[in-house]
């Protein structure tokens, strides 16, 4: 009986001990020794902090319909910290016609059925269809870049490159040329959309947003290679067609070219760049 009582008392006390320990462990871990207060990484190469970057860039459109889109541009960026920078990306756009455009140009009949939609000369003679499709002329985009990930890349275990992954987002102004309005009184391309003059391109400014992500490979303290994906979504009338504006739900042609004929396109592009870093590179403690 004594033994049982003693055992019960001991177990009771140990239980209390365990309970007390749980309470006591619920405090912050106090790191002592040589690691106390130390940063997670020492002598980290700070490629961006306090530095300015000039990066000539070339962008290539993806899933382009009537024109292959190219943008020769430049990214300017100042980095407040190693992970946060503001900058400006912009460029001049040029393009070439796609196979679809060439086929339409060759095969589309020029007659009354296509007179509103396909470029033609007097008397429904053939005219260049490529001249009526929209093209991006320039882009300017102030943007914020956040670089949360830093690391290195091993290639065949022989070449090691400091690498960073970043995301960016900003506001973009897109200068483009698309078929001008026609069909209404006062429209820039006239009141009839079946005349050759109605296919002329007009300039327009399209405000939109832009965002994307990319990788930077630092070849040296002052130079890097970049690859990035960028989305530049907005609505535009890429083919120069009368495809909307009529019917109860505006989904049918109305023999006019207006803003109703613009359709949303999630414009996408890949960019390659060579970045030059200005200013001395710092090193973390």
């Amino acid at each position: 009986m004594r033994f049982v009582t003693a055992l019960a008392a001991t177990l009771c006390a140990l239980g209390t001990t365990a309970a007390l320990e749980k309470t006591a462990n619920a405090q912050e871990i106090l790191l002592t020794g040589p690691l106390k207060g130390q940063p997670p990484a020492r002598n980290l190469r700070l490629y961006r902090e306090g530095r300015f970057e000039i990066a000539p860039a070339m962008s290539f459109g993806v899933l382009d319909e009537y024109r292959h889109m190219f943008i020769a541009g430049l990214r300017l960026q100042y980095n407040f910290t190693d992970w946060l920078g503001i900058g400006l990306w912009g460029g001049y756009g040029f393009s070439g016609t796609t196979d679809l455009t060439d086929q339409i140009n060759d095969k589309s009949p020029r007659n009354n059925l296509t007179a509103v939609n396909v470029n033609h000369g007097p008397g429904n003679t053939k005219a260049d269809f490529g001249a009526q499709v929209a093209q991006l002329q320039w882009v300017v985009a102030p943007q914020v870049t956040v670089t949360p990930f830093r690391g290195k890349l091993a290639l065949f275990q022989k070449v090691f490159v400091d690498t960073e992954a970043y995301i960016f987002g900003g506001f973009a102004l897109v200068g483009l040329q698309e078929r001008g309005n026609c069909g209404n009184a006062g429209d820039v391309n006239g009141t009839a959309c079946n005349t050759p003059a109605s296919f002329a391109l007009q300039s327009r400014l399209a405000p939109t947003g832009t965002f994307g992500l990319g990788l930077t490979f630092f070849l040296a303290d002052f130079i890097n290679l970049g690859v990035e994906y960028r989305a530049l979504p907005f609505s535009w009338n890429r083919g120069g067609f009368d495809s909307r504006g009529g019917g109860s739900n505006l989904d049918f042609p109305d023999q006019k070219i207006t803003s109703d004929d613009r359709t949303f396109k999630f414009n996408q592009m890949f960019t390659v760049s060579v970045g030059f870093m200005l200013g001395g590179r710092k090193t973390s403690d």
């Binding site: 019960a8 006591a24 002592t32």
Partner: protein, 334 residues
């Protein structure tokens, strides 16, 4: 009952001791331990010696260390070897020379591959989207299964399922209506391939300076089949196409970001290259309803284009990689 009271007192003492040792203020500067009551690592030494606490981090020897008049065995740092064999005792000058020698310590940029794939299976379910077909998109689920023969080389099979998921885009219809030009379209049913995968690049990233994850980049390629058929847009009243498998080659590049040692997020771009028989753009001029008449629009032989078109179906596949077995052992210690 008295015995029980003693046990209770003993147990109470047990319960008080550890809780007192941990009861320091979070973030506060630890106070200097009093003699004989030091906590943590020094506590045991103090208790055992019954005297002042020993600071293990200190460069100074304990105060009560017995002094001796005996000098060290030698000043050359040889220790006991100098007493046993003076000829083997290194000279001070030798040590200085040795210290000046350049040491070429081999330090790998990525010290230890955090995820070994050797002799592991990778099961990778994914969702694919079309990247290069603005007319018909071919989204659909897929599955990759690879066995890693070495840490960087794998052999495996890959399958895609598209049936019923092909999307004939609105753009396509509007283009046809506006220009009176029909673009031949194709839809897919399934694809399967035998592949080899090579992992030439791997590395690690620090996220926000607070956590580290590893990744690798792989190249893959193989051969298999893809089952496709034209979508009848030129003469939909008379033409009904069946799915037919074609030989398809594929090449791809992918990125895996390891979330654990057995789970990774995965994104890859893969190009399926195959010969396609598109829909014939003209309609046969013969009589209807005579499928055996070589000039009839009802004859299936008049439905296909005369030539074969090499088609690229570029897909972006996003999925998860699951490595089996879930764990592995390193051959060498870290």
């Amino acid at each position: 009952m008295k015995q029980a009271g003693r046990w209770l007192l003993f147990a109470a003492a047990l319960s008080v001791l550890p809780s007192t040792a941990l009861a320091q203020k979070p973030g506060g500067k630890p106070s200097k331990p009093p003699a004989g009551a030091a906590g943590g690592a020094t506590g045991g030494a103090a208790a055992a010696g019954g005297g002042e606490a020993v600071d293990l981090d200190s460069d100074q020897p304990p105060k009560d260390q017995p002094k001796t008049d005996t000098p060290p065995a030698d000043t050359g740092g040889g220790g006991g070897i100098c007493e046993i064999d003076p000829s083997a005792c290194p000279k001070t000058a030798d040590l200085k020379t040795e210290a000046k020698k350049e040491v070429k310590a081999e330090v790998y940029a990525v010290q230890q591959n955090p995820v070994l794939k050797y002799h592991r299976f990778e099961v990778r379910p994914f969702w694919g989207v079309t990247m290069n077909d603005q007319f018909v998109s071919h989204p659909g689920p897929g599955l990759d299964m690879n066995f890693y023969i070495t840490n960087v080389l794998a052999i495996g099979i890959n399958g895609n399922f598209y049936s019923g998921l092909n999307v004939d885009s609105d753009f396509n219809f509007q283009n046809r209506r506006a220009t009176r030009v029909a673009v031949p379209l194709t839809e897919y049913s399934w694809a399967a391939a035998l592949n080899f995968t090579y992992v030439p690049i791997y590395g690690k990233f620090a996220g926000f300076g607070s956590f580290i994850f590893s990744y690798d980049i792989y190249a893959t390629g193989g051969v298999g089949a893809i089952s496709t058929r034209p979508i009848a847009v030129i003469d939909p009243d008379n033409r009904t196409f069946d799915f037919k498998p074609k030989v398809a080659f594929n090449l791809g590049l992918g990125l895996r970001i390891f979330l654990t040692k057995w789970l990774a997020a995965n994104i890859e771009v893969r190009d399926y290259i195959y010969p396609e028989k598109l829909e014939q753009l003209t309609i046969a001029s013969g009589p209807l309803g005579k499928p055996n008449d070589p000039t009839s629009p009802s004859n299936p032989n008049t439905w296909y284009a005369d030539s074969v078109t090499i088609t690229n179906n570029i897909q972006m596949n996003v999925g998860l990689s699951i490595f089996i077995p879930f764990s592995f052992d390193y051959r060498l210690v870290k």
